[in-house]
């Protein structure tokens, strides 16, 4: 009985203290935060004019492969604009389906064929993003690293520059710049 009571009290204390701590850090679903990052990239990255078919064309965020980010992204970009352009979210099951695209999120299932995917979009002005290990080293541009329940960014600046993309210093300042070894 005493044991039961002690257990009950400690559980209550635990829950109460957790509830206090909860207020100190904002929390959100990982996929939700990634979706907002993808949205933000549109504001911190500059594309060459040729990347858009015309001045009113939308900025396209594409998702290659099945990923929970997908559902959150629609919600995140709804009604938003960047430099006078609306957003459009597209889903691809294979790299051949990608036509006009500005930010490409490559989900892990497709990451198995990552080298092929990266090779086929290499010379195009597409910001490639993934959470795959070694993404930046393998020629991808932005990697989400989930570390201690927080998302950090790794950016391969050389790869972005090679695709004629400019990345704002505001973004670069908070990211880890990765230079693939041997370059």
């Amino acid at each position: 009985m005493a044991l039961l009571k002690a257990t009950y009290v400690s559980a209550a204390v635990l829950v109460a203290s957790a509830a206090c701590l909860q207020a100190q850090a904002a929390r959100a679903a990982e996929s939700q935060v990634k979706a907002v990052f993808l949205f933000n990239f549109a504001q911190f990255v500059g594309w060459p004019p040729a990347a858009f078919p015309d001045s009113g064309a939308p900025l396209v965020i594409g998702i290659l492969g099945d990923d929970p980010v997908e559902g959150f992204l629609d919600q995140t970009v709804r009604g938003e604009q960047v430099r006078g352009r609306a957003f459009q979210v597209q889903r691809y099951h294979s790299v051949d389906e990608i036509k006009t695209c500005h930010v490409l999120f490559i989900s892990r299932p497709s990451a198995a064929r990552l080298d092929d995917v990266l090779a086929s979009v290499r010379s195009k002005p597409i910001l490639t993003v993934s959470d795959d290990d070694r993404f930046a080293e393998r020629g991808g541009m932005v990697r989400f690293v989930t570390d201690h329940n927080r998302i950090r960014l790794q950016i391969n600046l050389d790869a972005a520059q090679a695709a004629s993309l400019t990345i704002s210093s505001k973004l670069l300042r908070v990211a880890e710049i990765v230079t693939p070894p041997g370059r």
């Binding site: 509830a19 929390r27 949205f39 080298d115 070694r134 080293e137 329940n149 927080r150």
Partner: protein, 662 residues
């Protein structure tokens, strides 16, 4: 890649055999020998959880500081595989409260996992389970962990720092074409995290009932921008299991292990890694000195991307293992292995993978008078090659993979293990797959070189003509991933030829017996798995497996084993798992499992519950309380009731743990 072995010998659950005490005595000795040696989540979002609108107002720095929850992370890379694959992620491992590799494997619902005593486990897929199960291939970071004695796994020396595992891929069904020998009914592939992803200091420890105490420390650092390392040390002490009477079974044990891993990227296209482990364990046994198990291993790997769609990799490892069971058995085994593999895209539709391998073992056994491997000292080698072509018949819709392994071993010469797989994508979310495979379990030392007693005349003798056991497997499966729901179903029918038998040499005289291939078998069943993300913070998973195995003697056979060694699997098992992120930084996970009875061993059906409660007061610190097998004081999972000394039962366990990251 190559050796596999049999389980006949495990037929501990033998019936009162056609009479004679001599058979009984001989079989007992064999069994005794083998037994010892070879042996609700919260649906609503807490107030502090941020919406898309509030997240959009944050600066990039603030966004990077948002704590993310990922209970709903999807199993990765499952969608395309044309086989019954399940993946256990690091998150799954951490939240399960499992404290050893075999406990972690309970998370794969397509495996049969049974704890035999404090250190021994019977683990298999699609039946044929025993402590000497021989139809499953287990790899730890590319190193095949098996013993050439019986082509099974000594689970008491397969320890891995659980926090450093990236994922475990578990395939039920044959994987022989790519993976090779032993991969008759399944493959378990344990993959560690790159040392780049395990930087900093992690210290954890705890203890309780059953798992009396444990401590782990790992440090990861940077050698240069392109090179990282980690080193770890760990130890544990476990309490003994109990006999059905509740008495202590005197099998408590303790072990320590240390190791390292270095990852280096010499160029953007190349990766090199080197890792090794060193371990030492002591296990009590009744009436004799402690069992000692020690060993070390070293693995080097190199991979290089030649171009998009083409890469080459090489791997080299050395593994030393020593086992001393005072009064019964001793063994020193050295394994040397080298593998080479290349993948190349040919034209628009073909992706070809091929490889070559060589393995050499040096096995030295210390025999006793009652049972012996003869000769005591052997050196054996295996040569393997494989090729597989994956053809995109209709790009992104219909894929066909054709391949085969070819192997040469010292027992049976050349062996061929082909397979064909078809993967058909139905719409955006469904995949239908089917496969036909031939897989072999080639002979191991126990089939050819086991003698009881150690001097003639023998009760039991290894079979000089023992050849490979053959399986023809037919599989059909479907996988669906739609939004928050993932479902998979795999069905199979397998036919086995030449399963191990114990043949009377001079019937009707019950002894001597010789090991041969006198049995046939078939198995069929279905493995169902479901994964439902109820909310971002609550995930439910379930698994259900139905399995039938029939084994019978060939018409000309005088088999005395009666297929018992091959039939120690429950007809069905069911698991349901809930993972919930409660209010802030509190997680609650529970797993209920039901395992049907093992009729052959008179192991009753049982249901058990594991629960873990985790709390992270600050991101660096995690406290957890774990309860394992909570529903009974003790329960039996595997083994005949007439096991020498009594069948061991598994007790309820409760422990607390603290983990601190710096």
């Amino acid at each position: 890649m190559s050796v596999r072995s049999n389980a006949l010998v495990t037929s501990k659950g033998h019936r009162p055999m056609a009479g004679t005490r001599a058979v009984a005595a001989g079989t007992w000795i064999l069994f005794a020998f083998l037994a010892c040696c070879v042996e609700p989540g919260v649906a609503q979002q807490p107030d502090s959880s941020l919406s898309a609108d509030s997240l959009k107002k944050l600066s990039i720095e603030q966004l990077m500081n948002v704590e993310v929850t990922s209970v709903s992370k999807r199993p990765e890379r499952l969608a395309q595989a044309a086989s019954a694959i399940q993946v256990i992620t690091q998150e799954d491992i951490r939240r399960s409260g499992a404290s050893s590799l075999p406990e972690v494997l309970r998370l794969a619902t397509n495996l049969q996992v049974a704890q035999v005593d404090s250190r021994q486990w019977a683990i298999s897929a699609r039946g044929f389970n025993s402590t000497t199960a021989n139809k499953l291939l287990v790899l730890i970071d590319g190193r095949t962990v098996y013993t050439p004695l019986f082509s099974g796994v000594f689970w008491d020396v397969q320890d891995v720092p659980l926090a450093d595992i990236d994922r475990i891929e578990v395939i039920s069904g044959p994987g022989a074409a790519l993976w090779g020998a032993n991969a008759v009914n399944g493959v378990i592939n344990v993959i560690s995290r790159n040392s780049k992803d395990t930087q900093g200091l992690l210290v954890s420890g705890g203890g309780g009932m059953e798992l009396r105490g444990f401590g782990d420390a790992r440090y990861g650092g940077t050698l240069s921008p392109a090179a990282h390392f980690r080193a770890y040390g760990k130890g544990f002490a476990r309490q003994p299991t109990v006999l059905p009477t509740g008495l202590d079974a005197t099998d408590d044990w303790h072990a320590a292990q240390g190791g390292f891993r270095v990852d280096w990227d010499p160029s953007p296209k190349s990766q090199v890694s080197l890792h090794g482990d060193l371990y030492d364990g002591r296990i009590s046994q009744p009436g004799a000195s402690d069992i000692a198990v020690t060993g070390h291993n070293l693995t080097g790997r190199w991979s290089h991307a030649i171009s998009a769609g083409s890469d080459v990799r090489a791997e080299l490892y050395y593994d030393r293992t020593h086992r001393d069971i005072p009064g019964t058995f001793g063994e020193d085994l050295d394994t040397y292995d080298v593998d080479l593999q290349q993948r190349a895209r040919l034209g628009a539709r073909h992706e070809v993978v091929w490889g070559l391998g060589y393995r050499n073992i040096n096995d030295r056994v210390v025999n006793s008078d009652s049972v012996a491997f003869l000769p005591a000292h052997v050196a054996r080698q295996w040569f393997t090659g494989f090729i597989q072509d994956e053809i995109a018949l209709v790009p992104n819709r219909l894929q066909v993979a054709l391949g085969s392994k070819i192997e040469h071993n010292d027992y049976t010469g050349f062996e061929l293990q082909p397979s064909g797989r078809v993967n058909w994508r139905l719409g955006p979310s469904g995949t239908l797959w089917t496969a036909v495979s031939r897989a072999l379990r080639t002979p191991s030392r126990i089939d050819r070189e086991l003698f009881v007693p150690a001097q003639a005349p023998y009760f039991l003798a290894g079979g000089p003509d023992f050849h490979s056991e053959e399986e023809l497997a037919y599989e059909l499966g479907y996988r669906l991933q739609r939004g928050a729901l993932a479902l998979s179903a795999a069905t199979f029918y397998s036919r086995y030829h030449g399963l191990r038998s114990l043949e009377q040499v001079n019937p009707p005289a019950p002894v001597p017996l010789v090991i041969a291939n006198g049995q046939e078998g078939e198995s069929y069943g279905a493995e169902l798995a479901a994964d439902y993300r109820v909310t971002e913070r609550w995930r439910l998973r379930a698994g259900y497996t139905e399995l039938r195995v029939h084994v019978w003697a060939q018409p000309t056979s005088t088999d005395m084993s009666g297929g018992r060694a091959e039939s120690n699997s429950p007809d069905r098992q069911f698991t349901v798992r809930s993972s919930a992120d409660l209010a802030a930084r509190l997680t609650l996970d529970g797993t209920f499992r039901y395992v049907g009875d093992i009729a052959n061993q008179q192991v009753p059906a049982y249901g058990e519950l594991d629960v873990r409660f985790g709390w992270q007061p600050v991101p660096q610190l995690e406290l957890s309380a774990v309860g394992q097998n909570l529903l009974h004081d003790h329960h039996a999972e595997f083994g005949s009731p007439s096991t020498p000394g009594g069948r061991r039962e598994i007790r309820r366990g409760v422990y607390g743990a603290v983990a601190w990251r710096f």
